[in-house]
């Protein structure tokens, strides 16, 4: 119990001491999570809608593949992306490895299937008469897409929130592609892993409390938006 209380106390000290290194770490986490979530949502939502609304050859194969990719351990995604981004790999010339951009790339691959799958589920649970109405009223495919996503906005928003939560709490990809570089790619999760391995349990747990508060704040904002608009 003593240990938990001390960590909590340390977390509060860290936040209010304005330690620039902690702020940098928190900021890197938010920055890469934000962009990878935006990217995966902007690909995943249209793709999810397409999969939910259209029937085509090989559709079940695509769905199966997407569902499988949700079960991939992050270290495997990290390794796969390392092979792509390493100087030995096909995308090596860009020099993305061990940069925030490289991390965003890997986290996008983690989050895109989540956003896609949950969008498929969100749209499939809508009243089928909505699609029929759209067609009857002569909506173009683009109009139909926006109408349907608007109708399913709560569930789609939830998909984005879940993708964000997955990305910000992830450690394998961040470690493998970011390299945990101080002042550049160190995120809250890799910092926690580092402090834990150094035996600084209080500091690790303190960072954990900060991570929780950041996630709480971001989810709070989204929750407020949903209530305000709903």
């Amino acid at each position: 119990m003593q240990f938990l209380i001390e960590s909590f106390y340390k977390a509060i000290l860290l936040v209010f001491h304005l330690d620039p290194e902690v702020y940098q770490i928190v900021w890197t986490s938010i920055y890469i999570s934000f962009w990878s979530t935006i990217l995966s949502a902007s690909i995943g939502i249209p793709l999810g809608a397409l999969l939910a609304l259209k029937t085509f050859r090989g559709k079940s194969a695509v769905v199966l593949l997407l569902n499988t990719s949700m079960a991939l351990p992050t270290v495997v995604i990290g390794l796969f992306c390392y092979a792509l981004l390493s100087r030995m790999g096909p995308l090596g010339d860009f020099g993305f490895l061990f940069t925030p951009t490289g991390m965003i790339f890997g986290l996008f691959i983690l989050a895109a299937p989540i956003a896609t799958n949950l969008t498929v589920a969100a749209i499939q649970s809508l009243d089928k008469r909505l699609m029929l109405t759209c067609k009857l009223l002569g909506a173009t495919p683009v109009q139909e897409f926006f109408l349907i996503v608007k109708e399913a906005r709560f569930a789609v928003m939830a998909a984005v929130v879940i993708a964000f939560g997955r990305v910000i709490s992830e450690v394998g990809i961040a470690m493998m592609l970011g390299g945990n570089i101080r002042g550049l790619t160190r995120t809250m999760t890799t910092a926690i892993a580092l402090e834990t391995s150094k035996g600084e349990f209080e500091l690790g747990l303190a960072l954990g409390f900060i991570l929780m508060s950041v996630a709480f704040a971001i989810n709070g904002v989204i929750f407020a938006i949903q209530r305000g608009r709903g």
Binding site: G179, S197, K198, G199
Partner: protein, 269 residues
């Protein structure tokens, strides 16, 4: 509410752009956890960064992985501690300009009651033999790091193949292994630099030290630009010159943790 949402989006967008600052040159270095965790790099790197207007990106992993990153050309320079692996790295053509930088030493740690009575032995080989004879718990890094390679080499010298279940391969970093050994009241081998910050936190004590086989030299190697044209060889060379030069060597000699010197400079001029 809609405006509020837009405001947040714009705010986040603006903030995002501020942190994209890739204008300065960056030198990528892979190194072992011991140099980073001990805090040495925090004092060693800034003077070099200032003098050359460059940022050094440190990727601290086990020696095995650090060299692998060099092999793949993903870093410009490596700072590691495992002479046989370093020599192979150079022989295979991946590295050039290897220089000695500094050394510290390994120590054999164990519980205070010392069930295998290794404190009486003076050599590392005899100590491990006694641990094997009494089948006392021993935690190994098992992660192909410099420390792991060293430990394996000493086991080889004893002529004993360590056996499960008294021999535990953790596959983790030095800090984690120290904690595991502490929780399990087991023996382990650690580099002194990593152990000093742990000394007051765990119950393990130093039982064997000062043996020549426990000597732990660090070397710095530039990644061969002929293998990987993308690496920043000129800058890597400057870095090698800096850490082996008078300024770098003095910083290493002056670095103390809890009043104890961690690394001893030994660059040859």
């Amino acid at each position: 509410m809609k405006n509020f949402f837009r405001l947040i989006c714009i705010f986040l967008l603006l903030l995002s752009f501020t942190s994209i600052g890739f204008s300065e040159t960056r030198l990528k270095m892979s190194t072992t956890t011991s140099t980073e965790d001990s805090g040495l790099l925090k004092v060693l790197l800034p003077p070099f960064e200032k003098a050359n207007n460059v940022r050094v990106d440190v990727i601290s992993v086990g020696t095995g992985k650090a060299l692998k990153l060099g092999e793949n050309g993903d870093v410009d320079v490596v700072l590691v501690h495992s002479r046989p692996a370093e020599d192979k790295f150079i022989a295979d053509g991946y590295g050039v300009d290897r220089c000695d930088v500094m050394y510290n030493d390994y120590i054999i740690l164990g519980p205070k009651n010392d069930p295998a009575k290794i404190k009486e032995t003076k050599s590392a080989v005899d100590a491990l033999k006694k641990i094997a004879e009494t089948k006392s718990l021993f935690v190994s890094r098992g992660d192909d790091s410099g420390t792991d390679k060293k430990e394996k080499a000493i086991w080889k010298a004893t002529g004993i193949v360590p056996q499960i279940p008294w021999y535990i391969e953790a596959g983790q970093g030095m800090g984690t292994v120290l904690q595991m050994a502490n929780e399990k009241n087991a023996y382990t081998i650690a580099d002194r630099g990593t152990f000093i910050p742990f000394e007051n936190k765990i119950g393990l004590i130093i039982l064997v030290e000062g043996d020549k086989t426990l000597f732990n030299p660090y070397g710095v190697i530039a990644v061969n630009p002929k293998k990987h044209p993308g690496v920043q060889y000129e800058l890597a060379k400057k870095f090698v010159e800096f850490v082996t030069g008078p300024e770098g060597q003095k910083i290493i000699a002056d670095y103390k943790l809890d009043g104890k010197q961690l690394f001893f400079p030994d660059a040859k001029k």
